[in-house]
């Protein structure tokens, strides 16, 4: 009996030792947050953005929009080598999971930027965002990006929570054709009508807006957009 007891104790000790050994080696958790630390370095663990103003907030943007961008970076259609480098050898199913993950996050908004432009220019920005300029064929931003500018499912992004330098950088890239989307490429058409001052005014106004009560994009089909865009399934 005592012998069996000793064997039992020995076996238990072995199990305990084995458990300890396994634990020492450790395994990362299977969460997306753990898998996506490479994204967090520039976009924050929940896509909230970091101090560096060139890297955009991803959290809460519609999954379809985020997926389109991931695919465009992977295939070098949207040109930014550090992103292409990260995504080049990842399957599209994983890109979809990444898009779903960041789309579902709702971290708090950053404090609105304090505009560094004149009052006139800020008002010009507000006018373009809310009314557009039909004479110059510039639709109001809210017509597509939503009355609260939080975008619409599945593929129109929010314009809020972004820094002015990122917004003007992207509008500039659309204007000069270095950022493109599937035809018909509506943002390229719209941005082609903007002047440098328009871009500055839009970046200042949009980045100074406070967080809306609901950060979520509008459900698909909530309103009718004035343009047909290739990035948005019709």
């Amino acid at each position: 009996m005592r012998r069996w007891f000793c064997i039992g104790l020995f076996a238990l000790a072995c199990i305990a030792l084995k458990a300890e050994a396994t634990e020492a080696a450790g395994q990362p958790s299977a969460t997306m947050e753990e898998r996506l630390q490479a994204c967090a370095a520039c976009h924050g663990a929940k896509g909230e953005g970091i101090d560096n103003p060139y890297f955009p907030r991803l959290a809460g943007k519609p999954a379809g929009y985020l997926y389109n961008q991931l695919l465009a970076f992977k295939n070098d259609r949207r040109h930014y080598p550090p992103m292409t480098y990260l995504l080049e050898y990842l399957p599209e199913t994983y890109l979809q999971s990444m898009a779903d993950y960041f789309a579902a996050q709702r971290p708090p908004f950053p404090a609105p930027a304090i505009p560094d432009v004149s009052k006139d220019m800020l008002e010009h920005g507000e006018h373009l965002v809310l009314q557009g300029d039909p004479e110059r064929e510039i639709p109001a931003c809210v017509k597509c990006h939503g009355p609260t500018l939080t975008g619409m499912e599945p593929a129109i992004p929010s314009l809020l929570g972004l820094r002015p330098i990122y917004i003007s950088g992207q509008l500039g890239a659309w204007r000069y054709g270095t950022r493109t989307a599937k035809e018909p490429d509506c943002m390229q058409i719209v941005a082609g009508h903007l002047t440098e001052d328009d871009v500055k005014a839009l970046a200042a106004y949009l980045s100074s807006q406070p967080a809306p009560a609901d950060l979520s994009p509008a459900p698909k089909g909530s309103y009718k957009t004035p343009l047909a865009c290739g990035s948005e399934p019709q």
Binding site: A25, Y85, L86, T93
Partner: protein
């Protein structure tokens, strides 16, 4: 025992039956008409399925398909030290592809590096490796390429600097660096070893990166698989023969097959250009073929190169680097790789004892710290864990310090690296 022989004889048997079918077709041609074509279709389908697999083993897609481009329509830019080459359309389009080629002409291209008109291929096409491919395998790949949808897309002319735009120079290159000849099995080795050697030396064209390229763009057979810096990419392709580099002599077969097939293993993960090879090619190979490659690669890792040369960084400076390096490591790296450098394999590779960190060339560990990266997404590891880039958050001093630390901590035998080395690689091409 006989897997290699079986492969070869299997292929011969298939070829023989295909030839027999063809002969019957000729004899019975008019009488049987379309029915005969129908019976011929089956072996042809088998042949092209086998060709598709072999095209995977040859990683043809990596160069001959442009990003988001049509399959095998070419047009991908290949930067070389001699200018930019644009890959060719290898779809069966009559006008712009290989639609009018014969199996003989295709084999000539693979085996001796010549176009149907006798013109010379630039050696960016690895015919120095493909020359080892058997005629039967070449025919299967050709049958597959003939079966894919033709794409009418003209080849873009190469953009090479003088004097490399003169194709006649290739003759000189060939004299120095090209040896024609099908793979010759080594009767002293097992069939599995020979199958692995055939794949590694032939379709796998591993020597294109893992053998040093000299100033003439050639590689010497005497230095086969001894490693080298990949031109234009600024990644170091480690030696496959030295156990101090990527020599796999002391790896288990399981760790090697895991690495090749899934991209991760208990000993380390693939990254940089090797991630492409696993993503587009190796993950699709059969377990038998991957094992055969592992057996052959493990056998290569017997030799060893001299100890890494001593660092030219003064001792005082390198001890400062190590203390800054430990602080940087504990703050940014230890949460995944462990304070003891043991990592959490296979997802977070161990750094202690990791050959790829301690090699004489510090290019790869510096680039991993600067650029981070994901292992390739494979069927066995579809959602890999990524390493964050640190280029935007660490200074040159911190990068040099942390790389110096991981190269020398936990009994690692690497040499210190300088902030200037780290700085230089900030501008390395990412894509």
């Amino acid at each position: 025992m006989t897997s290699f022989v079986r492969h070869r004889s299997g292929r011969s048997a298939r070829l023989a039956s295909a030839l027999l079918c063809a002969a019957l077709l000729v004899i019975a041609g008019d009488a049987l008409g379309e029915d005969a074509a129908g019976t011929f279709a089956q072996p042809q389908a088998e042949l092209s399925a086998r060709g598709e697999y072999l095209a995977r083993a040859g990683d043809c897609i990596a160069c001959h398909t442009a990003p988001a481009g049509k399959l095998f329509a070419g047009g991908r830019a290949m930067p070389t030290p001699f200018g930019t080459l644009y890959t060719s359309n290898i779809t069966p389009d009559d006008e712009t592809g290989i639609g009018t080629w014969t199996a003989d002409q295709f084999h000539n291209m693979m085996h001796i590096g010549r176009f149907p008109d006798g013109g010379l291929l630039y050696p960016a096409m690895p015919f120095g490796s493909y020359t080892k491919v058997t005629r039967a395998d070449s025919d299967a790949i050709f049958a597959y390429l003939k079966s894919i949808p033709p794409v009418n897309q003209a080849n873009r002319p190469h953009d090479l600097n003088f004097p490399y735009n003169n194709r006649a120079l290739i003759l000189g290159w060939r004299t120095l660096f090209f040896t024609e000849g099908e793979f010759n099995p080594d009767p002293k080795q097992s069939d599995e070893w020979n199958r692995g050697a055939y794949l590694v030396q032939g379709l796998g064209h591993c020597a294109m990166c893992h053998t040093a390229i000299n100033a003439l763009g050639g590689s010497s057979e005497s230095q086969a698989f001894e490693g080298g810096l990949i031109p234009m990419q600024d990644w170091y392709a480690p030696s496959l023969t030295s156990n101090k580099e990527a020599g796999l002599g002391d790896w288990s077969i399981k760790d090697i097959t895991d690495l090749l097939k899934t991209g991760i293993s208990a000993r380390g993960a693939v990254y940089g250009p090797m991630a492409e090879v696993v993503y587009n090619s190796l993950q699709y190979l059969s377990d038998d073929d991957i094992s055969a490659m592992a057996v052959y690669l493990k056998s290569l890792g017997q030799g060893s190169l001299p100890q890494p040369s001593a660092s030219d960084i003064p001792i005082v400076e390198s001890s400062l680097l190590v203390s800054l390096g430990k602080a940087t490591y504990d703050a940014h790296c230890a949460s995944c790789h462990g304070a003891d450098g043991r990592g959490q394999p296979p997802h977070y590779p161990p750094l202690a004892g990791n050959q790829s960190i301690q090699m004489e060339s510090a290019v790869n560990p510096i680039r991993m710290v600067l650029n981070g990266g994901f292992p390739p997404g494979t069927a066995a590891n579809p959602m890999p864990y990524g390493m964050p880039p640190f280029a935007q958050s660490l200074s040159d001093d911190e990068v040099a310090a942390v790389v110096t630390y991981i190269r020398t901590a936990w009994g690692n035998h690497g040499s210190p690296v300088s902030p200037a080395q780290a700085n230089k690689l900030r501008s390395a091409p990412l894509y």
